[in-house]
Symmetry: C2
Subunit: 223 residues, 2 copies
Amino acid sequence: MHILVLGAAGMVGRKLSERLLRDGRLGKTDITAMTLQDVVAPAQPAKTGFPVNTVTCDFAVPGAAEKLVADRPDVIFHLAAIVSGEAELDFDKGYRINLDGTRMLLDAIRLVGGGYKPRIVFTSSIAVFGAPFPEAISDEFFHTPLLSYGTQKAIDELLLADYSRRGFMDGIGIRLPTICIRPGLPNKAASGFFSNILREPLAGKEAVLPVSEDVRHWHATPR
Amino acid sequence: MHILVLGAAGMVGRKLSERLLRDGRLGKTDITAMTLQDVVAPAQPAKTGFPVNTVTCDFAVPGAAEKLVADRPDVIFHLAAIVSGEAELDFDKGYRINLDGTRMLLDAIRLVGGGYKPRIVFTSSIAVFGAPFPEAISDEFFHTPLLSYGTQKAIDELLLADYSRRGFMDGIGIRLPTICIRPGLPNKAASGFFSNILREPLAGKEAVLPVSEDVRHWHATPR
C-alpha cells in the first residue's frame, strides 16, 4: 500500500506520518511506500522499512496534483491548507489553496483513469459550523460558516461527497477541532490562542486570552 | 436603476424580464436600463421606456463576467445554469457552468472596485437538500445534495454568503422548486416529468410518470 500525505510537515501531518512509519501498516495492510509532501520540506525519516519519498511543492498550482497522484497512491491524506486566520486575512490565497487546490487534487484523481479509486481522507474543520450552537452538534446540524476558511472547508466537503458518489474516489472528511498544544511559534489559525494560553505559561511567558472567560471551545490533543 | 438578468431567455428569465419591463420599476425604484443575457439570443423587447440591451454569450467563459458587470448594474438576477439532468450527465459541463461560471461572476463583481456592491439575486434549488426529508423542511435543515447539480448550487450558496459577509455584494439565494408548466419541449431537468405529466395530456399526448404515484414534490407555477 502506497500512502501519500499532503501537508506532511504540519503539526497533524508530522504526527500522522510518524505513526504510519512506526506502525508500518494502515489497518491490516502493510505500507510499501510513502510520499510526504508539503510546501516546506518534510523531514526525511531515517531507517524505514520501505521507500519514503519527500516532495517539496505547492500542491495548489496547476499540474502539481497530477504529478502527486501519477503513481496512483492507494490512500491520500489531504491535510494541506491555509489556516483560518490567514484565509480570512488573504481572501485570494485562502480560496486558491483551500478551494482551488483541493478541487485540482480531486480532479487529478478523477482523471487518472483505469479504475483508479483511492481512499482520500480530508481534514475538514468545525469551522463549517456557525454560531449559535446547540448544546450538542448532531450529524444533521446545518452548515453556516462564519469565516472564509469554514466556507472553503464546507465546499470541499460537498465536492468530496459528490466525487465519491460519482465513484471517482472513496472519500471521507474529518472535522477536526483545534488541535493543541501546537509546539513552536504560533501559526495564523484564528483559534491559535487556545494553544498559546496553554503553551506560553508552561514556557514562563505571558499569554493573553482574547475572548471572554466563558467561551466554550472544542479541542483535541495528540499523545 | 440598471438591472442585469443572466439567463434571460429561460423560462424564469423570460417571465421575470417581462414583469420588470411591464412594471418599469423594481420595488419603488424606477428602472433606467436593462441588460438581458443568455447563451441563446434573448428576445429584444418592443417599445420600452428605457434602453434594453440584449447580449448573447456564454457567461461562464473567462472574461465574459467582467464585460457583463463593467457598467456596474445595480441589481443582478443570476438565473443562468445547466439544469439538473444535464449536470448529472455531463460532469465537466455542470461544474464549468454552475460552479465556475457563478464563481467567475462573483469574482468579477468583487474586483470591479470603487465601492461597487450590487444586489445579486441567485436562483438556487431545493436540490441542495437530500432525502430522507422531514414533514416540513426548516431553515436549519442540512444540505446533503444527492446530485452534482444540487452540490453545485449548495456551493454557490456558500460562496454567495461568504462574498456578502465580506462586503463584496449584497447577495440572496432563492431555492426554487420545480417551476411548471414549462412550455414547449422538455428540457434536461431531472424533474422535467412534472411539467410533462401536466403539459402533454393537455396537448393530447401521452406522458409517462417515471416515479411512484406516492412521490411528493414541490412545485411553483407562474401566472
